[in-house]
């Protein structure tokens, strides 16, 4: 059975990528299982999707814990702990990262036990014009790497899944998928099917035990308020707003009132500060600041620490 995981951010099209790839497997005669997995988080938050494909009916359920192949939409996710890209990787795992940095460099940086392949995003995908283009690139690359999906299968697979988006979107995505497929030819077939799993090897997920009050109260009690501040939504950010204090006229209210996330605090001396642990990078502050004192930079990937977990 092939066990494949896609990692991206909400809005990057990982769910579509999983749909496209499983359609291609299906057209090649495979049984498939395809599911996106996300919590209540919205666009920008890390999500994953997974695909299982086998010649036999698939009885396995749940998230994939022994990935044969992992596809990553962009390299900023690698060090994002909540993305869990490197979870349960092993020496058989092939990791494909959309990145300008070559795979060998990533393998070295992450002390990764398996194979890493870097695939630069095509110019068209980088333009950000069509979110599904990242999906197409993931799909094409995955199809190339598993070695059991023919090049000519990609067209009907994309066509069947993307019909409602119209001809020009299909054509653009097909071009991207085919070029990713071709780029993977040196590695074609390097992803090998994993064997059956046994119940003995099953590792339960990391549960959080929630204490309950006794039954006269019968509900979990919140002893602390505004606990959401423990969640670092700053990790969603792909772009970072910065305040140019030489232009800020200390109005004391515009950016901090309009920030939907209460992530801009104003000092008593009227100086605003952005809380980067929580700022999601919506850029409303940049759009509303009257003297244009806020500018934007691409978010830097988090610093490299340690190896694969």
């Amino acid at each position: 059975m092939f066990r494949i995981r896609f990692h991206g951010r909400g809005g990057q099209g990982m769910k579509t990528a999983a749909n496209l790839l499983s359609r291609a497997f299906f057209l090649e005669g495979y049984e498939i299982q395809d599911a996106p997995r996300y919590g209540s988080e919205r666009r920008g938050a890390p999500i994953f999707a997974y695909v299982r494909a086998d010649r036999e009916p698939i009885l396995e359920r749940g998230a994939i814990t022994r990935p044969d192949l992992i596809l990553v939409a962009d390299d900023s996710l690698i060090h994002n702990p909540s993305a869990g890209v490197l979870q349960n990787v092993n020496s058989r795992t092939v990791l494909l990262i959309h990145s300008e940095v070559p795979g060998e460099v990533w393998k070295d940086r992450l002390q990764f036990p398996g194979t890493i392949i870097g695939l630069p995003l095509s110019a068209v995908a980088r333009s950000g014009a069509q979110i599904p283009v990242v999906s197409a690139s993931c799909t094409g690359a995955a199809a190339g790497l598993v070695g059991v999906i023919r090049r000519e299968t990609l067209e009907p697979a994309l066509r069947e899944e993307l019909t409602r988006l119209g001809e020009s979107v299909i054509a653009q995505n097909l071009e991207t998928a085919l070029s990713a497929y071709d780029a993977m030819q040196p590695y074609a077939g390097c992803v090998k099917e994993g064997g059956a799993l046994s119940a003995e090897d099953y590792a339960p997920p990391d549960w959080i035990e929630i204490p309950y009050e006794d039954s006269t109260i019968s509900a979990p009690v919140i002893y602390r308020t505004a606990t959401s501040e423990q969640i670092q939504t700053g990790l969603w950010r792909t772009r970072r707003p910065l305040i140019d204090y030489s232009h800020c006229n200390r109005c004391s209210w515009v950016c901090s009132t309009f920030c939907p996330d209460s992530a801009i605090h104003v000092d008593p001396d009227r100086t605003p500060h952005i809380d980067y642990e929580h700022c999601k990078g919506c850029m409303i502050c940049l759009a509303v600041c009257p003297p244009h004192a806020i500018y934007m930079e691409k978010e830097q990937p988090a610093p490299i620490e340690g190896g694969a977990r």
Partner: protein
């Protein structure tokens, strides 16, 4: 009634008490309005939240709120508010809750519940003169489940269940509330913080059923870059498609009369839910129809 304290932007709250780290979309216009409202409401509130995007705010053990919060089914925010108000009143009457610890009961619901499923329960609660503040954030669709159309979706908007453009008309929830003669009802938008703050301040001082109806531009459901949430909100007011008004003591007042009104297409064309009205060909008839509806509304405003 005494004068409010919020006279200019400088009087807006400078401390923002709604916790960061919520799971709502970057640039959410509903959260943008809620955080401004919550800064004014303060901690002594209990929020009764009908299923929708906002219910993902408080998932145990995480909450951005500083007070209690109750999750209800889509149709039941007003009924939940009634139960809590009654419980508080009973506790106070029995001397088990000091009067100074009383809480303001807030219903928080999206347009799907407020204009649709929850309308009957809300109508009954207003009729019973329930002392509560009802906040509806109107993102003109079922946002939480992927933007299907609701009774608040405007004519012509594309949603996941109206691919060629919605055929229904947006219900007038404000007028429905006003027809119940509540103590107060107002429309607001996060893009106009001063107007919003004055109305919320007024609503807080009153007792009885009160509505704050906030248009909530939704980058995800409406299709635009999150940084444009405020700009789109301002355009909605300036083109007249979202009138800012209040109902008080039987009187309806428009708190902002946009003059001149900009063409409604400046608002429409920024959102991909209306893109089919402009591409591949301009649908002049549909755009003129939307403009005519807006013009008709304002021609009736004295």
């Amino acid at each position: 009634m005494s004068e409010g304290t919020i006279k200019s932007m400088k009087n807006l709250p400078q401390e923002h008490i709604l916790g960061e780290g919520t799971s709502l979309c970057a640039g959410c216009g509903g959260l943008g309005a809620l955080h401004q409202i919550y800064d004014l409401l303060g901690e002594k509130t209990v929020i009764v939240n009908a299923a929708g995007c906002m219910t993902s705010l408080a998932i145990y053990p995480y909450t951005p709120f500083r007070g209690s919060w109750l999750y209800t089914a889509m149709a039941s925010a007003a009924s939940g508010a009634q139960g809590i108000r009654d419980a508080l009143d009973v506790l106070i009457a029995q001397g088990r809750l000091p009067t100074e610890d009383d809480l303001t009961v807030i219903a928080l619901a999206g347009d799907g519940s407020s204009y649709g499923m929850g309308l009957s329960a809300t109508s009954a609660a207003i009729e019973r003169n329930l002392d509560f503040l009802y906040i509806c954030y109107d993102n003109e669709g079922y946002g939480n489940t992927g933007q299907q159309f609701s009774a608040a979706t405007p004519w012509g908007a594309r949603t996941t269940t109206s691919r060629g453009g919605h055929h229904g008309k947006k219900k007038d929830l404000f007028a429905i509330w006003a027809a119940h003669h509540p103590v107060y009802a107002a429309t607001v938008i996060g893009a106009e913080p001063l107007d919003l703050a004055r109305k919320v301040e007024k609503a807080i001082r009153l007792r009885g059923p009160r509505l704050i109806l906030a248009m909530a531009p939704c980058p995800t459901g409406w299709g635009y870059d999150p940084q444009e949430t405020v700009e789109i909100g301002r355009l909605a007011v300036r083109c007249g498609i979202w009138p800012l008004k209040e109902y008080e003591e039987g009187r309806l007042t428009h708190t902002r009369i946009p003059q001149p009104r900009i063409p409604v297409e400046e608002y429409l064309q920024k959102q991909s839910r209306f893109r089919h009205l402009f591409k591949p060909e301009r649908n002049a008839e549909a755009i003129a129809h939307i403009q005519a509806e807006v013009d008709r509304y304002w021609s009736n405003v004295a």
